[in-house]
């Protein structure tokens, strides 16, 4: 007699209990606090907020902890929570020219109003493992840090200093295309309506802003290697705090809801001009929650590549293929569908087995016939 395997329910319960145990790890060690994650794994938290499309440091930290450090899983947790949140209305567009800048670099001008501000960056660090960080008591401070000797490290300015965007400076001479004017229209919302291709630029930017960092990195990289080369220069990258302003229709005035940290990248790209437009620079734009420079830059490269049609360029490369790029950039969708292959497919496989066996039998018969 044969008894079919059962007990899916118990298996799932046990699996989840094991998961919880593994997540906790060695119980002789203190459980990691959300405040520690938020304070010390900031870039992980930032990525979760950016691709999770929800600015909440505490919940993102919780997601990182719950996901055992698997950031795509953490992004997924945040997305699933976000989708249930009621909407009160739309904030005013962020004004990044009024940012409390913590970092700002331009690759196009040596000096410019507001100056260059390196800020907290891995740039120019020697990628040498810093064993001092691994130490017990003194593990807090890198051996290289001037903090160790009590020096001033030029931390955050108290108030925003005037720091005009590089693209605005170029714009004064008409050397770069103008930033599109706000026509007041409600932008398409990819989280509230199904996307139909082709899409407008706002929809593209929304999709890229929550797109997978690794995917955009690879696509952006491909444009540099000649697959839709766009001669990019980093006009500016700025990272800092921006105020979120909400206009309350009932009250008729604006209130500040607080600040969010964002990274903005304005890529400046060559453009030969067309019959209507004289030669000038064009833009690729990237904006991401938190400090996610790699993502903001990749986004700007891909965004620029996707603008080929409007700029009268030729389409020749994967990064220019709007439907392809946008419909595969969401890592929550991608991971779900790739991983669904581990779900049972017995039924379909049985149908395929049957077909292959039948075709083999026919093949064999034909061979035999031919031999006779």
């Amino acid at each position: 007699m044969y008894v079919a395997a059962k007990g899916g329910e118990k298996a799932i319960r046990n699996a989840h209990a094991l998961l919880a145990k593994r997540r906790r790890g060695n119980e002789n060690l203190p459980s990691i606090g959300l405040d520690q994650i938020a304070a010390q794994l900031t870039l992980a938290v930032d990525r979760v907020m950016a691709e999770g499309s929800l600015y909440d440091i505490e919940l993102a930290s919780l997601a990182v902890k719950q996901a055992r450090g698997d950031l795509i899983e953490a992004i997924f947790l945040i997305r699933a929570f976000r989708t249930t949140l009621p909407r009160f209305g739309n904030a005013q567009p962020l004004d990044t020219s009024r940012m409390l800048v913590r970092r700002r670099v331009s690759a196009t001008f040596k000096d410019l109003p507001g100056g260059q501000l390196l800020g907290p960056t891995f740039d120019y660090t020697h990628r040498l493992l810093d064993t001092a960080l691994g130490g017990g008591e003194n593990g807090d401070i890198s051996g290289d840090s001037p903090v160790a000797s009590g020096g001033d490290i030029g931390d955050i300015p108290a108030a925003p200093v005037a720091m005009p965007r590089v693209t605005d400076l170029l714009g004064q001479e008409g050397l770069i295309e103008a930033s599109p004017a706000d026509d007041g229209a409600e932008p398409f919302d990819i989280t509230r309506a199904p996307v139909a291709y082709p899409v407008d630029r706002a929809t593209r930017l929304q999709t890229l802003a929550r797109g997978d960092e690794g995917y955009l990195l690879a696509l952006g990289y491909s444009t540099q290697r000649g697959y839709a080369r766009s001669h990019p220069f980093v006009g500016e990258i700025r990272f800092g705090d921006v105020e979120v302003i909400f206009e309350v229709p009932e009250l008729g005035f604006e209130v500040s809801l607080g600040t969010v940290q964002v990274t903005e990248c304005q890529m400046v790209n060559q453009f030969k001009g067309s019959a209507e437009v004289p030669p000038q620079f064009t833009r690729g734009y990237g904006l991401v929650f938190g400090q996610c420079e790699r993502k903001a830059m990749s986004m700007a490269l891909v965004e620029r590549a996707l603008r080929w049609k409007e700029l009268g360029e030729e389409q020749s490369a994967p990064a220019q293929d709007e439907e392809f790029v946008l419909s595969h950039c969401d890592n929550v969708q991608a991971t779900g569908f790739v991983e669904h292959l581990k779900l049972p497919h017995y039924v379909d496989f049985q149908a395929e087995l049957d077909l292959v066996r039948r075709m083999r039998a026919e093949h064999e018969a034909e061979m035999k016939e031919a031999a006779e």
Binding site: E9, I12, L85, T191
Partner: protein
């Protein structure tokens, strides 16, 4: 959803069947249009669900939108109620909607399924909700949505016939064994989800309402009751379903879809019903196969 701060972290409570009412209305409107245009894929603003894309988020959203407090829900995956994903989805609705659940096809008012149609004939008060991974039947012939949309608009399905005919020329068979395309009510060519083509005839003239949800691809479509559903074929190669050489080893059923179970590493195998409720019911009624208890 509502959140209130208790001891730092928000306490989160969810609406009936998880989705907020606005989302349900949006999905419900899509369902109504899907029913009005049988086989046409209605775009809808699929939400992010607390389960992965590709694991039934479309079916879950459709179920959540139709489900009422008096419904009795059955969830199957591969025909079985106890497969892990079916268990997980059933548990989700037990938790979020507190509806009655069942493994009995006849007791259920709403059945969510992945990859099978129950063997037991459905009734006119039942709703069958399919989980759909790729709703576009033309996707593997033309990956671009912008193109396939045009083809549907023009009812230009020659491409599909060419593909099926090439199969015949090359293999002597139509090499599509599951997700076998159908024509609904004489108009739209539709992907029936990856059910084995064995199940295709059950879609035709079914008294139940059939709803299809594709979450990642953001599409909902439907087949109203008593609607003509024709599996695409050719006069000289009529549509045929798979037949199993032996009856179910447990309940002795013939004409049911069977799972192959490998018993040992010496070629030992048996065939048992994939529809566990059907098989159990038959065994309770006293039917026995060659390996039945």
């Amino acid at each position: 959803m509502s959140a209130s701060d208790v001891g730092g972290m928000p306490q989160i409570t969810y609406n009936f069947a998880y989705l907020d009412e606005q989302t349900k209305r949006m999905i419900r409107r899509a369902i109504l249009k899907a029913i009005a245009v049988p086989g046409y894929q209605v775009p809808f603003a699929a939400r992010e669900m607390p389960m992965p894309y590709g694991w039934g988020t479309g079916g879950v959203q459709v179920t959540a939108a139709v489900l009422g407090r008096d419904d009795v829900l059955k969830v199957i995956d591969q025909g079985a109620d106890d497969t892990t994903n079916a268990v997980a989805i059933r548990g989700f609705f037990e938790k979020t909607a507190r509806v009655a659940t069942t493994t009995s096809t006849t007791e259920a008012t709403v059945i969510q399924t992945r990859h099978r149609i129950p063997e037991t004939k459905l009734r006119e008060d039942q709703i069958l909700v399919y989980q759909v991974p790729i709703p576009e039947p033309l996707r593997f012939l033309e990956p671009r949505e912008t193109e396939t949309r045009q083809l549907h608009a023009l009812a230009e399905y020659g491409l599909m016939h060419v593909k099926l005919y090439e199969d015949i020329a090359r293999h002597g068979h139509i090499a599509t064994t599951y997700a076998y395309p159908v024509e609904v009510a004489g108009r739209y060519v539709m992907d029936p989800s990856p059910i084995p083509k064995f199940d295709n005839p059950k879609m035709d003239d079914s008294p139940a309402l059939q709803l299809f949800g594709a979450g990642r691809e953001k599409r909902i479509y439907a087949i109203p009751p008593h609607t003509k559903v024709r599996s695409l074929d050719f006069e000289d190669h009529p549509f045929k379903v798979q037949r199993f050489a032996k009856p179910c080893a447990l309940c002795g059923a013939t004409g049911a879809y069977l799972d192959e179970v490998i018993l040992d590493d010496k070629g030992g195998r048996m065939f048992v019903c994939s529809d566990t409720d059907f098989c159990n019911t038959r065994q309770e009624e006293g039917h026995r196969g060659e390996m039945g208890a």
